[in-house]
Subunit: 343 residues, 2 copies
């Protein structure tokens, strides 16, 4: 974070023709964009959302309301542009990049549809109740793919990147990651996901608990990622790390994307400086994650779909924050530098 | 509200390829747009924000951090497009319409700037501590101007109208209106406005209290509007009434705009059906108003600038809600009507 640029942007915001602080979080978002991009003129002109997909062996344990085949089916929806994130991205002028990190069955994309990049590491993870979800080498490979996806977008001009994910069973992996990385009780950070309630939710919490006991006391974030994580989560961790290294703001989405951000933060604590939280999910672990990362969400609309939908919806607000800093008139423009009240 | 269209839209939303309810408030917003517009295909294709400005005699009592001349100065900023709302409206493709309902000095608009419509009723209100802010006839005339402004926009194709206002001293008038219309303690619904704190805030609360005692127990919303309201507030009341009558969603802004909506609701209770709350202001009376109207805000960013800035910032979210309902794929499209879980 470039504190000098951030402070200069905040000062410029204070000089705008409005009562001090009256644009609320829009002002702090503009200053944060400035600090991340290391400029007093932050910009959101070429936003992108990268969606990583992968399947999860733990679905065999019945943790999700949907069958595993839905992951590949949703990839088809991303390619066709008919998924929620596709609609929201079109409305907001956001580039979508979709990558298959390892769904069970590689999707068949018809001609005329958007491409799904093949970044397959393996056909879904193993069941983490029975062993590591993947090997350390596979986790590293998936992270490296994420780094490459970020580079691809940034080299092509992207100046803000949102995280999206798809993978039936991945809220279970995200709960295991969150509980392990933050040392929390599984019951505190495990929720309905796509919609499991009652006894099914109790069983999901028990599964997360069993996964954690199965793998013992792990502390290294790479080990934790390989043992209980997911291929798409690992790739998003790579996206976060690369965005932070290249001073590109990274817009988190819901609970699963933020689990990837947690891994990145544990690998490189300063990566949190590049993060902006798009939404607050009702998934109970999300508030826990955001608090650990020190982030305030932009939107509080009760969205819990994932797939980058929250990130896409928040982009116009970030674009507006940058525009206010760039285009709004100041008291100085009016020759009224002294009329600004100090309240 | 067309409950049939609203229910049909909600049903269509449930059939989209996503877990039930997973888009949160975006889903209820889409259904509400459908209910207001009486169509299962709601649209936000030609949004507008109408800004009404007027001055307030009660500023003589020192209730604001700014001098009264700032109202006309800000009208210049709206004309030039350099005010916050101008920037936000440009970013979101929103038409801005600005009307002078009675600032002390009519603004001088340079050529090449946006026009400010002359809808002057009188040069500012009288000090409501000393007598009625305006006559009943003047309040009616200002409301009629608002009706005309809404007609102008709707006849020109506007399919959603946001409320904006400018008037130094108008949070004091809004507090008096809110306390009177909802029978609340002035201390509960009077806040910093542009930034008065400490003793100055105590004095502002005392002024609102004195205004209410000065005018006795009024119950008729027209009488209350004339006694303690404002010219720009009255005009926005007219905008709300006309939007509701013509089935055009009306997007509230902050505390002052919502005071105008309260007056409209007291005149015609069904007008609340056409309202959508854009933001939650930290101004303490705003939550009280929204609760009375039964509205949940779209944004919770701590914005308290007014001038339509919150409404403008919420427009992309409403546009997205309509787009999801229109463009997102359904389980039926995939031949998967039976796979939708009921959780």
């Amino acid at each position: 974070l470039d504190h000098e640029a951030g402070a200069a942007a905040a000062g410029a915001m204070d000089g705008k023709v409005k009562p001090l602080g009256s644009l609320g979080q829009l002002e702090t978002l503009a200053a944060r964009l400035a600090g991340i991009q290391a400029t007093t003129e932050p910009h959101v002109e070429a936003p992108a959302v990268v969606i990583c997909a992968g399947d999860h062996g733990i679905t065999a344990t019945g943790v999700s309301a949907y069958p595993q085949e839905v992951t590949a089916l949703m990839l088809g929806g991303f390619a066709a542009g008919t998924a929620a994130v596709g609609v929201l991205a079109r409305e907001a002028g956001i580039r979508l990049l979709v990558a298959d990190l390892g769904v069970i069955q590689a999707p068949v994309i018809e001609s005329g549809q958007n491409v799904v990049l093949d970044r397959r590491v393996r056909a879904g993870t193993a069941n983490s109740l029975e062993g590591p979800a993947m090997t350390l080498a596979q986790a590293q490979q998936a992270v490296a793919h994420g780094v490459g996806l970020a580079d691809l977008l940034i080299d092509d001009g992207a100046d803000l990147i949102g995280l999206g994910e798809m993978g039936i069973g991945n809220t279970t992996a995200a709960s295991a990651l969150t509980a392990s990385l933050l040392d929390r009780d599984p019951a505190r950070v495990t929720g309905p996901g796509t919609g499991v309630t009652g006894e099914a939710l109790t069983a999901k919490i028990a599964a997360v608990d069993a996964v954690l006991r199965r793998h013992g006391d792990l502390d290294d974030p790479w080990q934790i990622l390989a043992a209980v994580g997911g291929l798409e989560i690992a790739a998003l961790t790579g996206v976060v790390l690369r965005c932070a290294a290249r001073r590109v703001p990274v817009l988190l989405d819901g609970f699963v994307a933020t689990a990837a951000a947690l891994v990145a933060w544990r690998i490189e604590p300063r990566s949190a400086d590049a993060m902006i939280a798009a939404t607050l999910s009702p998934e109970p672990g999300h508030a826990v994650q955001l608090e650990a990362l020190g982030l305030e969400p932009v939107l509080r609309l009760g969205m819990r779909l994932g797939e980058g939908s929250g990130a896409a919806l928040a982009v116009p607000i970030l674009r507006s924050a940058a525009a206010v800093l760039r285009d709004m008139g100041s008291f100085a423009d009016l020759g009224l530098a002294d009329e600004k009240p100090t309240a």
